[in-house]
């Protein structure tokens, strides 16, 4: 395995509201190695986007990072000045947003928006930036790149705009690309094209990707490693193969069971996870998933389970961690979880 690019430890992020602090991220730790694709999966409100925005310190006004360290190539992002950070954003770490419709400024040409980033970080001439932009447009397979550079966002289709967003993100050869649900706003055929493109570019340029999604299909398709988040915590973390073959957390089981399978037997019913995510204004004292978990015990409601690793139980192989009391050595057997 190559060296660690990003190492986040014990990140806590709150949102201040009039009713109190919403604890969006509660002690998330993660690491991304150079050239690796890490997927973060979870329901809406599980804290996956907030985790990524916290890393770049791009939270909305009410967001507060209470604790945590985010080391990027040995520098703690939490301690950098705003100026140092803005030199880093777009240059070493780039972001692709969910909605390409609104992420492009309607009053500037698409090319101008790509060039802006190049000129900002590379201090090149406009002509050089333009040449680089055309090159990038070709890389993300925008047809007729030379003329499209001067087009406005409203002249682009959704898929084309997302390609343009990717071109902006790739403008300065970032070492880490954060893709926040890059395909959610697109229709299925375009989704596949964009994912294929991302994977292809990653293979060619070798940057690391942090892919946020709620779509397990996307995870299976492109990621090396997966992190499952729930209630602002990491629930389970493993390589893609491990996670799909031997999930150890009941929540991961639930997620996998709720994916529609077209090849499943006729009339097989989808199995949604009952209930809804916890109120993060007053999170439960125990496991956040306990109120919805079919296997929940009283221990689960009493205390937040620690992150069990391969050293704690034989059920977890190397690199596989999960936050569930059922992995405790004394825990009773539960069908499918710890058997």
């Amino acid at each position: 395995m190559s060296h660690t690019l990003l190492n986040v430890t014990n990140l806590h992020t709150d949102f201040e509201t009039s009713r109190g602090d919403v604890k969006a991220v509660r002690g998330v730790s993660l690491s991304v190695a150079a050239g690796e694709i890490l997927g973060i999966v979870g329901e809406s409100g599980s804290g996956k986007s907030v985790t990524c925005m916290s890393i770049l310190r791009l939270l909305k006004r009410q967001g507060r990072i209470r604790a945590g360290v985010a080391e990027f190539e040995g520098r703690d992002l939490m301690k950098l000045s705003e100026r140092e950070l803005s030199d880093l954003r777009g240059n070493d770490i780039a972001v692709i947003f969910q909605d390409p419709m609104s992420s492009l400024n309607p009053t500037l040409t698409v090319g101008e928006q790509v060039m802006e980033t190049i000129i900002r970080h590379r201090k090149t001439s406009r002509a050089a930036a333009r040449a680089r932009t055309i090159e990038l447009f070709k890389l993300v397979r925008i047809p007729a790149a030379e003329t499209r550079v001067d087009a406005y966002p409203h002249e682009f289709s959704g898929g084309m705009r997302q390609r343009a967003m990717i071109a902006i993100a790739l403008a300065c050869d970032p070492k880490l690309l954060i893709a926040d649900e890059p395909t959610t706003a697109l229709d299925v055929t375009i989704q596949r094209q964009i994912l294929g493109l991302l994977k292809d570019i990653q293979a060619r340029m070798g940057m690391a990707i942090l892919l946020i999604t709620h779509d397990l299909g996307v995870i299976a398709e492109v990621c090396d490693r997966v992190m499952v988040m729930y209630g602002g915590m990491v629930m389970e973390q493993a390589s893609v193969h491990r996670l799909f073959e031997a999930p150890r957390h009941p929540y991961t089981h639930g997620l996998l069971a709720s994916v529609p399978d077209l090849r499943a037997a006729h009339r097989a019913r989808l199995q949604p996870i009952a209930g809804s995510p916890p109120d993060m204004l007053r999170p439960p004292p125990g496991c956040p998933f306990a109120p919805r978990c079919a296997h929940a015990r009283s221990q689960c409601a009493a205390a937040v389970p620690p992150l069990f690793g391969p050293d704690d139980t034989a059920l977890l192989k190397s690199g596989h961690t999960a936050r569930c009391w059922l992995l405790h050595a004394d825990a009773p057997k539960a069908e499918g979880i710890n058997t």
């Binding site: 972001v95 609104s102 492009l104 500037l108 802006e116």
Partner: protein
């Protein structure tokens, strides 16, 4: 094969050559944003009329005084209070040599003077040498060998030529002074063109401060938000609550010229409305994803405000501007009207109206022209602003 629609082309089942991304090719060449706006604006008649009027006004104010043979300060007391339209009398005789002699002249009902004009309506001069008979309230002139008597003992004034009451020959435009002259014999038209220059100067100053102070102030306030925003907006409120008249009077204490005081007063306070509008716009626009995107790409706040936020607020900014310009022009006119504006002999539309009001009964034309200029300019800017608001509204995009 009876149905002609079923006829096949040559080699119909050959494989179609697939072109990659054929679906992504744009079908129609899109018209740019400003092209759209212009097309919608052109469809609005009042807005276009307003725009044409403003363009003509600017051209007239810039080139008019250059072309005019008169200046705004040269007085000609012999030709004071001349109307732009008059009704001349014609007197003709044949002298001893047999050459016919004809004289055209008109009576200025305001001051009972007679002015000689030529056949086309160009002014020749004041007819002098009248014998005034104060007791009988009449003045007798010798014109073309005939005795012309102006009898103003009763209203309306009557005119007798050789003791026969004579009627004028028909209305004629003043070819020398198109808008007439004022009480000091200065050309009203050229003074009004100078007035237009002052109005446009004020409009220009208002535009500049709105752009450079109002837009940036509002932009910074809206973007910074929080405490900075609160403090900046309270300053705006303090400035907005002090009456403009008070500012002008205070500035006149320090500065000499009235015009500079008015321009400075407008310059210092006129951006507050714009600042408020822009702030409101920025507050909503800064939530946009593209602002987040720009920030994640490392763009600095100054660049985000200038490149990303303000261009998106250009619609409301333009509309506010076209609404603020006429009110600045009006404020200058009003200040001049109440005597706080430009100093004589310089004329602004406000001083022209205020001077004309004194002689409104006798010479209503002196009031008509500057008043019409003020109102028409207000209309023109408001129509244009209205049209722009509609044209810039993307919801109306077809």
């Amino acid at each position: 094969m009876s149905n002609p629609d079923m006829k096949l082309t040559e080699n119909p089942w050959a494989l179609l050559e697939l072109k990659a991304d054929a679906a992504e090719v744009i079908a129609s060449p899109a018209r740019g944003y400003w092209g759209d706006v212009w097309a919608r604006l052109r469809a609005r008649k009042p807005a276009m009329v307003g725009l044409v009027f403003i363009v003509l006004l600017i051209l007239a104010a810039v080139f008019g005084p250059m072309i005019s043979p008169y200046s705004y300060f040269e007085q000609n007391l012999k030709l004071s209070n001349i109307q732009p339209i008059f009704n001349p009398y014609t007197v003709s005789t044949t002298d001893e040599d047999g050459t016919p002699e004809t004289a055209h002249f008109f009576l200025n009902a305001g001051n009972f003077n007679l002015y000689e004009v030529d056949a086309r309506g160009a002014l020749i001069g004041l007819i002098r040498g009248g014998r005034k008979d104060m007791a009988m309230r009449r003045t007798t002139y010798q014109i073309a060998g005939q005795a012309v008597v102006v009898d103003y003992s009763q209203q309306p004034t009557r005119l007798f030529v050789d003791d026969v009451e004579t009627r004028p020959g028909g209305w004629q435009w003043n070819k020398t002074y198109w808008f007439g002259t004022d009480q000091l014999g200065r050309d009203v038209l050229v003074r009004q063109l100078y007035g237009a220059r002052i109005s446009l100067l004020v409009a220009f100053v208002a535009t500049i401060v709105n752009f450079f102070i109002g837009v940036l102030y509002g932009g910074i306030s809206g973007y910074a938000g929080g405490r900075v925003d609160a403090v900046m907006m309270r300053i705006v409120e303090v400035i907005a609550t002090i009456p403009l008249t008070l500012y002008v009077i205070l500035m006149m204490v320090v500065l000499q010229s009235g015009l500079i005081s008015v321009v400075l007063a407008i310059g210092t306070v006129f951006w507050v409305d714009m600042a408020r509008i822009v702030r409101g716009q920025i507050l909503t626009l800064k939530q946009s994803d593209y602002v987040d995107a720009a920030r994640t790409m490392g763009a600095r706040p100054g660049r985000i405000i200038v490149r990303h936020l303000l261009p998106n607020a250009v619609g409301p900014i333009l509309v506010t501007l076209t609404m603020l310009i006429p009110s600045a022009i009006f404020i200058e006119s009003f200040m001049s009207f109440i005597g706080l504006g430009v100093t004589p002999p310089l004329a602004s539309w406000g001083t022209l109206t205020s001077n004309a009001v004194e002689t409104m009964r006798a010479y209503p034309h002196q009031l008509l022209f500057p008043a019409a200029a003020i109102s028409l300019t207000m209309f023109a800017f408001n129509f244009l602003g209205d049209g722009l608001r509609d044209a810039l509204d993307p919801r109306l995009r077809k």
